[in-house]
Structure formats: structure tokens, C-alpha cells
Amino acid sequence: MTEVLHPRPNPIVAAMYTLRDLEAEVVVMHGPAGCGFMASRRLEEAGVRVVTTGMREGDLIFGAEEKLVRVLAQVEQEFHPRLVGIVGTCASMIIGENLDSAIKKAGLKAKVLAVDTHGCAGPNTSGAIRTLEVAAQQGVISQEEYLRQKEMLTRATLIEADRGLTSRRYLEPHPGATKLSVALEIVRALRQGKRVSVTLNAKKETAFGFADVMRAVEYARSRVGGETLHLGNLSTEIGLPRIRRYAREIQRDLKEADVELALITGGLDEYPVAGERAARFLERERADLRIFAGLPHAVPGITPEDILVTDQPRELRNYIDRGFAKSVGEINTHAMVMSAHGILKNELGETIRQIVDGGMA
């Protein structure tokens, strides 16, 4: 196994995101006030209330069960939630806090999912898996749904270790190729009557940010000619209700932009397998220029001729070092998508539109 040095997401944050997907209204972090702070902010933008028990030195020594009980009672009083998640942290798990006992003592009306994970528990996906396991035990999701998602998350971990963020010891952030160079190539290809494919293989809400490439390419085709082929993991039948909602909203906006999907490769929480389905489809379908947006490395068979669009500077470094020179970054995607209810314009999309409208290329 590679010893990875660069920072990467942790199980605590993955648990928080998964609780959001399960539509928990409140997430209680049982730990130091700053733990998961940046992620908490994002989640609050998505409408989740994140509170902390704010453990202090003394709580490490003496335990903070009473604090947790108090916070839970307050949460009920203030927010009247139906579903509450408690996420453990390194601090609470090392000292062996008994989350279940605190829940019992707090006597909430709400259903509470206690996720006993922490920062040292393994890959970030382990926090998501633990959350889903607890949700299945509590009857919030079915056992089948739990097993399906667990399988996806386990595969995602393998893909990351094989060709993604955890495949290299250290990845230095890279800004990626310029959008102009890539957009020019796309518009030129269309102008020459070529066939351009856009494959969306995105993870959950980030699809709001990446799907704009499809709209922009379709727009360019309507102006300059050529042919397009769109496919993506946008099934409205797979995943938790919240995730299906994302797919519905994206499909609605694509339709409005006259984007026709030639293939739906899977659900928005299925990027590891959806990537494989996309690859099989693209083997049969000819395309002169191929664009992959979201997590391109999860699509087997991408080549250095392809255009890759992703959102993480370290991912860009990973792609560029592997010879994918035409990798561009939509660095702001994650910050913008949290409260989205429709496709957001992205930079590559806007560049394509500008080129078409301004008559460049």
C-alpha cells in the first residue's frame, strides 16, 4: 500500500455528508469545536444544522457524556428534528464515549443515528459505510440499499488507491490546462463536423457543477454544427431520495437545453460502476473527441487524447502526471453545489459559449 502524505477527506466528514444524504436535519459532532469545521459550513449551506459538543481538555479526561446529553436535549428543543445524526470524532472515540447511552438519557422524540467513527478509522468511505450501516440497523434504509451502497463505496476506495488520489505518495496541487485551449479544440471539432461525446461520471452533488459541459457542448453544436453524444450517471431510480432529486433536477435542466442522453450509466452514487458502463458504451460508439467530466479516472480506457474535467487540484496533478495533458479544473465546483437545485454554469461551459458567440475559432 502506498503511504500517502497529502491531506485527504476523513471518515468524520464522510459520515456528515452521508447523514445529509439521509436527510438528517441536525448533525451533532461529539468532539472539539473545530473538528470538521470547513465541512460543517458547507453542510449548513445545504440546510443541515451542524452543532458541536465542543469538547475541552477536561472532557477528554472525565468524559463528556453529560455534555452530549445536554446538547441533544437542546437540539430537540430548538429544531424539533425528525432525524438527528451524532458523529464521533477522534476525541470522543479514543476515550470510549458511549453514544448510545447518551441518546437513551436524552430521551429524544427524534430518531437518532449514532455513528461511532473517527479520523483514524481508515479511508473516508469507512465513515460513510458506518453511517449507512447504522441507518440500516435503525430501519432508515433497507438492508439491500445498505449493501449496494457499501459495495459502491468499497469500489470507490479501490479506484482511488489504484488510479486516484491515494495512488501516489504525494500530489502537489496543479491548476490544470487552460479552459481556452480545451474549449477551442471542442468548438473546432464540432465546426469540422466531428462527433464530440460528453460523459458525465460525477459523484452526487458535484454533478450540478459538471453537467454544464453537456449544455455548453450542445449549445455549440446548435451554432456551429457537428455531432454530439451525451451519457451520464443520472438515473432517477437509484439511491437515496435526495440523490434521486439531484438527478431529476439535472435531467430537467438538460432537457431544457436540448441535451439528449444516449445512455444513463447509473445513479449519482454509482460513479465506480457507472464509469465501467460508460467505457463499454464508448467502445461501441465512435466519437472523434471525448470529454469526461466529474471523476474521469473512474472510467476505464480514457486516453491522453481525451479531455478530462474535474474539480480537485490534486486530481489534476494526478491526471497531468499520467499524461492526460488536456485536464481542466472546475475548482469552485464543490463550494457552489451544496445548495443547488439545478445545473450551475461552469467555466469550461462559459468559455465554450463565449467562443461560439464571439466567433473565435
Binding site: 468524559g63 479514543i94 476515550i95 464515549e97 458511549n98 481508515g122
Partner: protein
Amino acid sequence: MRQIAIYGKGGIGKSTISANVAAALAEKGLITWYVGCDPKSDGSMTLLRGQRAQAFLEMMKGTGQGKPYEVAVGYGGVRCVEVGGPLAGVGCAGRGIIVAVQALSKDHFSKENIDVIIYDVPGDVVCGGFAAPLRERYADEVYIVTSGEYLSLYAANNIAKGLRNLNVKLGGIICNSREVEGERNVVAEFASQIGTRMIAFIPRDPVVRECENQGMTVIECAPASAQASAYRSLAEAMMRNKDFALPRPMEPEDIRALLRGSMA
């Protein structure tokens, strides 16, 4: 499946009692597990003819998790697990117990056919880790080992406090005799004051050391001795026991008063 935790002051003889009880239960044909929770990992030695069981946490180390754990099989088929843990002054033994007990429960206790698990827990319920075996799905019965000496009674009383906090029931007090005066009465009185009873009085006998030096339990090494029958009747009393109560710890002052009374 009975899941029994044995607590008591360090050095009071918990491991000897736990190992001998495990041996006595196995002799009766029960599928018995001995789980030693001391980082030193030497509790099961007498069940294993002086051999050391591989420490569970050592096995986990480095791999993070995963590899199947080879459970050592000792006298009468007792499955011996030593949790292990950090060197003195390093890391956190309590966390080690939490992790090991969770993993053992997932990989073994919930899958295998087991009659009794005995947890030999070090010292005192001092932190979340040492209380781990008492978490709902693990040990649900507790016995406290003490002698008639003030410090062991004091520790026993502290453990009783821990149990009360954790809402765990106590099955009784085991007196491991130090041959102090009036010991039987003092311990019986202490037990009744905290709301339980003395379930056994284990006499002090040099045979225990002799057997230990040979790397065996008394049950194996001196099966016909009076000491062996003391352990056997304790094991039987535990199996028959239906008397469990939440303890009512005493004030240290009252323990001293109790001891003074026994002197008079």
C-alpha cells in the same frame, strides 16, 4: 451465552481465579473463552502450559485490521485470547481494549458457538476503555474479586461505583483470601452492604504458586486438591447464579468502620 467480566484491584488474583474458573467450566464440557484484557498478556499462561497467547492487538498492528486471529486453545479446550496493548507509558491501553473487544465480538463472539466468555479485566473501571467489556452487547455480568484488606475493599467499592454509573449488575463478590483476621465476615458484610453477596471464599494455598510455576491452573495441575474444588464450586455458583443487582457503593468512611468493627 453467558458473558462474565471479572474486576478487582491489581494484584488481587483475578487472573488466577479467571483462569481456574475457565478451566473448571471447560472440564464440565462448556465451550469457554478466556479473554485477558491486561496489556502484559500473561493471564492465560496457566491455561496454555506456560505459553503466551499471541496478543490480539499485536496481530492487528500494522494491518489496521482484517487478518483472522489464531485463537490459542488451552486446557480443556478453553479458547484463550489476550488483548495485549501498548508498552507502559505509550499510547492508550483503554482504547486498545475498546478496539479489541469490538473486533473480537464481530469476528468471533457473534459467529461462534460459545457457552461462556470470561473477561479478565485489569485493575479498575478507570476509563471508557476498561469499561468496554461492559458495553451493552459484551459482558453483562460482573464479579468483583477482593480480600478483607482495606485497599482491596476500597477498590472493590470503586468498581461498584463504576457499575452503578454504567447501570451494570453485579453477581457477587469473590473473596480471595489474604488470611487477614475476620476476613470471611468482613467481606460478607461488605457484600451485603453494597447490595450483593459473597459468592465464594477462596482460601490461600501454596498449591496455587506451585501450579503456576509449572505453567498450569490448579484445576489441571492438582485436580484433587481442596483448592481445585474451591474453584470448581465458584464456577458452579456462577453458573447457577440468578442473583444480580445494581450495587450501592459505600462511603470509604463506612468501609473503615466496618474493618474496625471486625477487629473489636
